[in-house]
Each structure stands twice: as structure tokens, then as C-alpha cells.
């Protein structure tokens, strides 16, 4: 479970996150959306304990990321916006290093590395130097390192960016298959991805939550794209508006109309 309460973050005078709250339950995949610069990466960095919030709290399975940081961090697998690769290490020794760093038992390290290498399609690249990988493969190694310790909580910042269509499909399937007992938060700009694999969607704009909704509760016949565009267009009078209103408006505007097909 991830519970974010009234999170704010200022960079000097600039307030990037302005009181975000949302909750991802165990077993849920939460799609975290928002236009460029909305504050997704900033929020995820706070959730994973990389940087402190200016105010507000984050709880990971009930553990506060600020006051109980080490224990909370133990439970998280994190793919940052830029895959955190050491450019002069080989893929396999890099994954081995992350496994040990993440507290995988010595005897289990080999197994863990083999597993993520297989599921992330890295078998042929295992002996390559990270700095020489193509963008897509760097991304795959990034996903692999996030999964390596089989964490109960996963935070993935744009996991499918830069991947080829087949790999996008595979990684999506992988994430969907992972959910089960886990809590997953992923950010993305690919809206169909959210409809396909997420249980819940949170849309933020300019540092504020403008929509938090279960996918199943989005009215049939309304595409996520419409919901998204509508939600972020409401900027200015967001404060008073409840996310439900957004949905109603979008729903009303399109009653009787044909839904545009969701492009794959």
C-alpha cells in the first residue's frame, strides 16, 4: 500500500507539488498521469525516499518514508525517470550489484539475476557494457533492477518509454502479472496503457490532483484521453471541483456520440 497525504515540494521559490493526496491499495496498479512538468517524477522521488517532501507524508505499507526510511525503502523497487545504470559495468554484474544492495541473500543473488534477465529479455545483452546499450535496452535493464529483489511495492517512472512495440507489450504483461499481492504505481504518457493494465488512475496537473478514479468507474463510452484532456483543462477552478464532476461533464458531453476508438 502507498498512501500519500498532502504532499508539497518546493524547489527554492518554485512549488512543484502543491498538496497531493492519493492512495494505492495492495494488489492495485495505479496509473499516475499528468502533462509534462506536472510533478509526477517529483512525487515519485519523494515516495521512494530519494528526496524529502517540503510537507506532507508518504506511507509505504504503513511505514513512513521519512521517519522510518530504511524499513520503508526495503519494500520498494524503483525505476527512476533515467535508468540508473553505471556506464562502465556489464549488465550482469550491474544487476548482481543492485541485488546485493537491495538486500537479496547471497545464495539467492544468482537466481534473482537470472530471473530478471529472462523476464526482461536481456539474455543476449547480459555481457554487454551498460554504457553501450541502446536506449530501449537501458530501459529494460532499469526495469530489471527495479524487480530484482521481488519488492512488494513498485514505483515505475515511465517504464515503457523507448521500448519497441513487442517489448512494450511484454513489459505491460509483466507488470500486469506482477500485481497480485503487490502495490504498483507507474507514470506514463501512453493513455491506452493505463486502460489496459491499471486498476486506478490519478491525474495531476500543475502539482495538484485533478482526478482520482477507479478505471471501472470511468463511464463506458468515455475514452481516457477525453477524461485526461478535460481534467487538465479545468485548471484554475480545480480547487472547488471534485473529480466526479469532471467525469460527469465528460460523460454528458458525449452522450449519444460515438466514442472515438482507442488507438493502440
Amino acid at each position: 500500500m502507498i498512501e500519500v497525504k498532502n504532499l508539497t515540494k518546493s524547489y527554492g521559490n518554485f512549488v512543484a507539488v502543491k498538496g497531493i493526496s492519493f492512495k494505492a491499495e495492495r494488489g492495485q496498479i495505479l496509473g499516475f498521469l499528468g502533462p509534462n512538468g506536472a510533478g509526477k517524477t517529483t512525487t515519485m522521488r519523494i515516495i521512494t525516499g530519494f528526496m524529502p517532501a517540503t510537507s506532507g507524508t508518504v506511507e509505504i505499507d504503513g511505514l513512513d518514508i521519512f521517519t522510518n526510511s530504511l524499513e520503508a525503502r526495503r519494500r520498494i523497487g524503483y525505476l527512476p525517470e533515467t535508468p540508473p545504470l553505471y556506464s562502465d559495468m556489464r549488465v550482469e554484474s550491474y544487476l548482481r550489484f543492485v541485488a546485493k544492495l537491495r538486500g537479496v541473500k547471497r545464495s539467492a543473488v544468482d537466481g534473482a539475476v537470472d530471473h530478471v534477465v529472462t523476464v526482461c529479455g536481456l539474455t543476449e545483452m547480459a555481457n554487454r557494457i551498460c554504457g553501450q546499450l541502446s536506449k530501449g535496452y537501458r530501459q529494460r535493464v532499469g526495469v530489471a533492477q527495479a524487480l530484482i529483489h521481488d519488492p512488494p511495492v513498485l514505483v515505475l517512472d515511465e517504464p515503457t518509454i523507448g521500448l519497441d512495440p513487442r517489448q512494450i507489450h511484454e513489459i505491460r504483461e509483466l507488470i500486469r502479472g506482477l500485481s497480485g499481492e503487490r502495490t504498483i504505481v507507474l507514470s506514463t504518457h501512453i493513455l491506452p496503457e493505463v486502460s489496459q493494465i491499471c486498476d486506478k488512475v490519478v491525474i495531476i496537473n500543475d502539482g495538484r490532483v485533478v482526478l482520482e478514479e477507479k478505471i471501472t468507474e470511468i463511464p463506458a463510452g468515455t475514452s481516457l484521453e477525453e477524461v485526461f484532456l478535460h481534467a487538465i483543462a479545468r485548471e484554475g477552478h480545480v480547487e472547488g471541483a471534485s473529480p466526479e464532476e469532471t467525469l460527469e461533464e465528460v460523460g454528458a458531453g458525449h452522450s449519444g456520440q460515438q466514442t472515438p476508438p482507442e488507438n493502440q
Binding site: R73, P83, M89
Partner: protein, 257 residues
């Protein structure tokens, strides 16, 4: 503890695949070799001069330890002031720039363990470097008869000096994501520790004794003369511990509100 070794192992491997470390090592040994050669020539010339003049008593005073090894160690210490910042500049700065810092700080690892691991690796590489510089005393031992104890004290001094430089370098690297800034600030700090006693020579009293206590060459010279004194060892260890403490604080400060 395990985390410290995990990080140290990965870092140490890094030194052996990176050109910077090899360049540092090569420059250190080549310049060392050049100084050694120059010092030996000088020594040889003086011995011949004294022999020509037939002054046997002066010949006894010609000593390999004070005429060759002592000045060589001082020259090597200056080379270290210049090359050590290059060795340590990337340690934190590069991770910040490339984003691997995010991996490191979100892992269930204490900042103390990160700093200890990185210091352990840089220190090991540095000690290998200083150990390789034993080639010069070994050459003297084959062809001459220097005092081994004195040389040992001198090299212990050089090692402690180099480790202090490593600790200072880690500190400046932890302050920035720019490697050049890290290198130049650590260079500046090392030079300052070198010249800090200069005003002391003019004045007297408290200030001057404090300044000369803080001076690196002051403590180092005692050791190159063959004296192993606890005050000097304590001094170097304090510099190392203080710099590492500041590094830990600086890394930890990323987590402060």
C-alpha cells in the same frame, strides 16, 4: 557492513576499468621515477666531488635516506596534491550527474555505509599506488645501504597523507554534481592545508602554534625523517575522520527537510 563491502567492491572494480585511475597511477610513478633519477644523479655527483677533494669525514655524512628518499617523498607528496583530486572527483559527482545517485539513495543502505564503501575503495587503490612506489627504496636497497626503518616511517607518512587527500576529495565530490568543481575545490583545500603554516613563521603565540599544528607538511616531515610519533598519526587520522564525517553529513543532507 555487508553493504559497505558491496559498494567498495563495485567501486574498486570501477577504478580498474577507468582511464582516470590509470592515468593518475602512471603520472604518479613516472614523475616519481624522474625525481628519483634526478636525486640519485645529484647524490652521485656530490659523492664524486667529495671524493675528489679527499674529505673522508664528509663522505660519511652522505646518506641515502636524507639525500634521496626524504626529498623524493616530499616531491611525491606534491604530485599527490595534484593527482588525488582527479582520482576522487567523480566518486559522488558522477553519480549525481548520471542519476545512479537515485539508485544509491533509495536502496536500503545507510549513508554512512555508502561513504565508508566509497572511501574503502578509493583508499585501497591509493594504498596500491603508494605500495608500488616502494620500487624506489627497493632499488636503493639493491645497490646501496639505506636505513629501512626510516624509509618505512616515511612511506607510512606518505600513505597517511594520501588517505587524508582521499577523504578531503570525497568530501568535495559529495558537494557538487560537477566533477571539475569537485576537483578544483579539493585541490584548493589540499594546497591550503599545505601552506597554512606560512603565516605562523612570522607571528608567534597561540595562533601560530595552531596554524603549524594544522599544517600537513609539518607532520609529514617528521615522518620522512624517520620519526613515528603518535601526534602525527593522530593528526592524519583526525583529518580523515573529520572529512569523512563531513562527507556523511553532506550525503545525508539530501534527506533533510
Amino acid at each position: 557492513m555487508r553493504n559497505t563491502f558491496t559498494i567498495a567492491g563495485k567501486e574498486l572494480q570501477g577504478y580498474f576499468v577507468q582511464p582516470v585511475a590509470y592515468v593518475v597511477l602512471t603520472v604518479f610513478l613516472l614523475l616519481g621515477g624522474w625525481f628519483f633519477f634526478a636525486m640519485l644523479r645529484q647524490f652521485d655527483e656530490m659523492v664524486q666531488l667529495i671524493q675528489m677533494m679527499g674529505q673522508a669525514d664528509q663522505l660519511k655524512e652522505m646518506n641515502l635516506n636524507t639525500r634521496v628518499i626524504d626529498p623524493l617523498l616530499h616531491d611525491l607528496s606534491i604530485v599527490l596534491v595534484i593527482v588525488m583530486p582527479a582520482l576522487t572527483m567523480r566518486v559522488f559527482a558522477e553519480e549525481k550527474r548520471t542519476g545512479t545517485y537515485e539508485l544509491l539513495l533509495t536502496a536500503p543502505v545507510r549513508t554512512g555505509e555508502i561513504v565508508a564503501g566509497k572511501f574503502l575503495a578509493a583508499a585501497s587503490f591509493t594504498l596500491i599506488m603508494v605500495a608500488l612506489a616502494w620500487i624506489f627504496p627497493l632499488i636503493l636497497m639493491i645497490f646501496g645501504d639505506p636505513e629501512v626503518g626510516v624509509m618505512f616511517a616515511g612511506y607510512l607518512g606518505l600513505a597517511l597523507l594520501a588517505l587524508s587527500f582521499v577523504a578531503v576529495g570525497l568530501f568535495t565530490s559529495s558537494l557538487t554534481q560537477n566533477q571539475i568543481v569537485a576537483a578544483i575545490s579539493s585541490f584548493g583545500m589540499l594546497i591550503l592545508l599545505y601552506v597554512i603554516s606560512w603565516p605562523a613563521e612570522a607571528g608567534g603565540g597561540m595562533v601560530s602554534s595552531v596554524l603549524s599544528y594544522l599544517s600537513l607538511p609539518e607532520h609529514f616531515s617528521t615522518m620522512t625523517r624517520g620519526v613515528i610519533d603518535t601526534t602525527d598519526i593522530v593528526f592524519f587520522l583526525s583529518v580523515i575522520v573529520l572529512a569523512l564525517f563531513l562527507t556523511q553529513r553532506s550525503v545525508e543532507s539530501a534527506r533533510w527537510r
